[in-house]
Amino acid sequence: MAFRPIPRATLCAALALSAAALAGCASPGDAAGGEVQLVVRDGSLRELGAVCSGARPYLGFHKGAELALIDADGRESYHAVLGDGEAVKVDDIDYGTAPRIPTFCRFVLDAATLESGTYSVSIDGDVVAEHVVDGPATMIFVPALASVDPSSEGAE
């Protein structure tokens, strides 16, 4: 079969469409569907992969607790009931044979379709953090450690 070059106009159109699609995924105000994870940055010593809940001062993050994301207009955009968390690595330090190492507690939650923007994170009715959605999958960190301004993040 003879190779037939793709016309330049077709190639340009395809590239433009792809770029637009990618840009569209992260543009403010668009809806994004994907996995939701809640990561409690408690640094507690645990066995990797162990069942966990948030350690002090995050004891409120446990199986049965209700998580909600509240949008800028005060509407509840997402709601989930936490199951068991799983202890995940904090860093890439080699802790040797230590059975328990610093971990975060990660909860994998139901997928959500969320518009890009800033949300208040509430657990059992208490607002505990802010979270910025800017893509299909969303990973909520508690504490947020620093406020994130989507207009300046990644600008440099």
Partner: protein, 188 residues
């Protein structure tokens, strides 16, 4: 119904009522789960250099006020920190039950719950068939005094009131036995 038969029925019904009354002597986790008589020839060793245990002043599920002296009653005390929502705590309960069966009245065990919802706690106690007294600690004051970061955690207090051991995330039966066997000289 002939008189002898009605008497027999009455006797059976009365016996059943008595049995049901005896079984419902109090809620799980209440004062009727406090330790029994200390075996006459039980003897214990103290753990050298161990600090005094923090206070265990609190109220049981049935609102009975307790302290370390009432909970331990002169013997080593295992303190199990738990909550109804804690999956690992439910897994640890079988270890606690095993130790309770093996050591009987030679040791005492108390559980300290961080639950705020007593209904959820009592439901958990029934599900897990918890036979120990349970302190309700919704403000986590006792938890904090024992430096509990998350449940479960197991503490061992010797018969002299010293904090002999802390096991964050709990311990298996062999590990607890090893420590207990060092301080329970004769179980009586």
């Amino acid at each position: 119904m002939t008189p002898p038969r009605s008497a027999a029925v009455f006797t059976v019904v009365a016996a059943l009522v008595l049995m049901m009354t005896a079984c419902a002597s109090g809620p799980r986790g209440g004062a009727d789960r406090l330790p029994g008589q200390l075996p006459a020839d039980a003897s214990f060793a103290a753990v050298d250099g161990a600090p005094d245990a923090p206070a265990l002043d609190g109220r049981l599920v049935d609102d009975t006020r307790v302290d370390l002296e009432a909970l331990a009653a002169g013997r080593p005390l295992i303190v199990q920190f738990m909550a109804s929502w804690c999956t690992s705590c439910a897994e640890q309960q079988s270890v606690i039950s095993t130790i309770a069966d093996e050591y009987g009245d030679a040791i005492a065990i108390v559980q300290v719950s961080g639950d705020r919802d007593v209904a959820e706690l009592t439901s958990y106690l029934d599900e897990q068939q918890v036979d120990q007294p349970v302190i309700v600690d919704p403000d986590l004051q006792i938890w904090r005094s024992f430096a509990v970061t998350e449940p479960p955690m197991t503490a061992l207090i010797d018969a002299e009131g010293h904090l002999a051991k802390l096991w964050p995330t709990g311990a298996d039966a062999d590990t607890i036995r090893e420590q207990l066997d060092a301080i329970v000289l004769t179980a009586g």
